[in-house]
C-alpha cells in the first residue's frame, strides 16, 4: 500500500527544508507519494468593504493561480524529476486546521512542515501555525528545524 505524506509549503526557505526532508523520507519508505500543500491564510469572519467582496472571487482565483505557479508547480516538477510521485493543492483557511483537513482527506500517514519563521507579539498571543498544527492535528506531524 502506498504511503502518502503531506508537505506544508510556505513559499520560503523553511518550506524547502520541509520538502527536502519529505524527499528523504519518501525514498526511505519506497512506495510513497507526496502531496505538497499551500494554505493561504484566510478567515470567513474577517471584514471587507462591499467593493472588496464584489471582487473577492476574482482575487481568490488570482491568489490560487499565483501560488500554483510560484510555489506548487515548481515543487511538483522538482519531485517528479527526482522520481517521486507528487500532487499539489492550494486552499484558503486557517493554516493549521486546513493542513490537517487536507491530510485527513488525502488519507495521509503524516504531515511534514518546517518550523515557521513567525515570531513576535501575535505568535506569542495566538501561537504560531506550526504550534497550532502540532497541538491540534489528528495524525503525526514532523516539524523540520
Amino acid at each position: 500500500m502506498t504511503t502518502r505524506l503531506v508537505v506544508g509549503l510556505d513559499g520560503h526557505a523553511s518550506g524547502e527544508r520541509a520538502l527536502d526532508f519529505a524527499v528523504t523520507q519518501a525514498r526511505l519508505i519506497g512506495d510513497c507519494d507526496l502531496v505538497v500543500a499551500y494554505v493561504i491564510e484566510w478567515s470567513p469572519f474577517s471584514f471587507h468593504s462591499a467593493e472588496e467582496n464584489a471582487q473577492r472571487h476574482k482575487r481568490r482565483e488570482e491568489e490560487i493561480s499565483t501560488v500554483m505557479s510560484r510555489v506548487i508547480d515548481p515543487a511538483v516538477k522538482k519531485l517528479e524529476k527526482l522520481g517521486i510521485k507528487a500532487t499539489g493543492v492550494v486552499r484558503h483557511g486557517d493554516v493549521a486546521d486546513t493542513l490537517n483537513a487536507i491530510a485527513k482527506q488525502q488519507k495521509a500517514a503524516q504531515i511534514i512542515v518546517a518550523r515557521s519563521s513567525e515570531g513576535g507579539f501575535s505568535s506569542r498571543i495566538f501561537g504560531s501555525s506550526t504550534f497550532n498544527l502540532v497541538k491540534g492535528a489528528d495524525l503525526p506531524v514532523t516539524v523540520v528545524q
Binding site: P44, F47, H48, A50, K58
Partner: protein, 515 residues
Amino acid sequence: MTAAAMAAFAATLLTAGAARAQEAMTLDERVNQIFAEVTGPFVSFIFAPLYGTDFPWIVMWLVIAATVFTLYFGFVQFRYFGHSIRLVKGDYSDPDDAGEVSHFQALATALSGTVGLGNIAGVAVAVGIGGPGATFWMILAGLLGMASKFTECTLGVKYRNEYEDGTVSGGPMYYLSKGFRELGLPGGGVLAVLFSVFCILGSLGGGNMFQANQAHAQISGILGDYPGWITGLVFAFVVFLVIVGGIKSIARVTEKIVPFMGVLYVGAALIILIVEYDKIGWAFGQIFEGAFSGLGVAGGLVGALIQGFKRAAFSNEAGVGSAAIAHSAVRTKEPITEGFVSLLEPLIDTVVICTMTALVITISGQLITDPQTGRFVLDEAGAAIATIDGNTGVALTSAAFAEGISWFPYVLAVAVVLFAFSTMISWSYYGLKAWTYLFGEGKTKELIFKLIFCAFVVIGAAANLGPVIDFSDAAIFAMAVVNILGLYFLMKVVRQELRSYGRRLRSGEIVAYRA
C-alpha cells in the same frame, strides 16, 4: 505621507475657516436655503399624508409590505432564525469554497452600511419627536422588516450578474430587469432605471449628506462651533482618497475599527442599563404606554408610530433594496441562504442596537416630563419633546450616554465619525453600482459619480439637519417605492426557492458540513 498631508490640509482649512467665520456662516445659510428649495417638492411628495389623515403614505407602504412578506413566507424570520445563525457560523459552507465571500462577511459588510448614525442620531430623532413609544413601533418594524430583507437579498443573489473576470454586480436593478423578463412581465427595465435614479439620490442623501451633517454636529459639539463646510471638505478629501485615490488602507482600517466601535457602543449601553437596572422596567413601561397613548407627544399615538416606523426603515433599510447590493457578492449555490442570513440584519440593527439607544435616552431623563401629569413637555415649536439642553439628534444621544458615563461623548464622537465614514464608503459603492447600471462601466463615468459624491459631502456638512434629514429620508424611501413594487411581483420566485430549500433541508439532502 498621506496622514501628514491630511493633517496639513485640515490645519490649513481650520485656520482659514476661523478667519472667515462670518463669511462661512453666510455660505452655510445659502447652501441650506438653496438645498431646501430644490428638494422641497420631492420631499413633499414622498411624505404626503394619506387622504384625510396625517399618516404618510410611504410609511404605510413599508409596513404593509413587511407584513405581506411576513405572512406570505409564513413568518420565515422566526421559523428559520436558528438556521440563519448556523449559516452565519459557516456550518453549511462548503470547505472547497474557502476564500470566497462568506455569509458572515456579506452580513458584516451590509451591517457596516446600516449600523451607524441611524442607530445613534436617528433613534434620538425618533424618541425626541415621537417619545419612547416610538421604540415599540421601531421594534415591530424591525421584526417585520426581517421578511422584507429576506425577500430582496434572496433575489439579489439569484439575479446578480457574474462577469467573466470573476467580479459580481447585484441588487434591485438587476433582479427587477432580469426577474421581470424571466416571468414575462413588462416594465422591469423601467423599474430598474427608476430604482437606480433613486439609489443615486439615496446614496447622496442618507448615505452621504446625513452622515456628513451629523459628523459635523458631533465634532463641533466638542471643538466648539465652526462652519460645516470645513468638516465637509476634510471628510470629502478623505472619501476622495479612498474611492478615487484607491487608498484601500484607509477603508481597511475603518472596516476593522467600525465593528469594534459597534461592540463598544453596545457595551457602553449595556453598562448604563446594568447600572440603572431599576429603571429598565419603568422605561419599558414608558415605551408601551407611549406606543398606544403617545404620552403627550406631538401627533399622539400616530406621531409615535410614524417616527418609529420611519426611523426603523431609515436605520435597517429593509425594503429599500440597498442591502441586496451588498449581499449579492456572497458565494453560494443556494441564493435563499443569503436571504436567511440577511434577515438577521434588521434584528441586530433595529431590535437590538436601536432599542438600546432608545432605552438609554429614556432612562437618562434628558426628555423633560411634567411632574404633575407624567406627560412629556413639548418644545417651543410644539413639534418635539423639550430636552434638558435643547439637544436633538446625535447630541441628545451623546448627552444621554454622558449621564451614565461622563467621558463617553468623546468615544461617541469618534464612533460617529467612523460610522459616518464607513456608511459613506458603503453607500458610495451602492450609488456607483446604480450609476454604472444606468450609464455603463467605465473609468471616466465612475470618476464623475465619485466626484459628485465627494461634492455632496461638503453640502451635507454645511446644511441644517432638518432639510438634510427630510431629503435623506425621501430619497431612501423613494428607493423602497420601486423596490417593493417589484418585490410583490417577484415574491413567488422566492417562495419557490423557499419551498424547494425547506423540502431538501427536511429530507436531509442539504446537510451541514459541520455538526
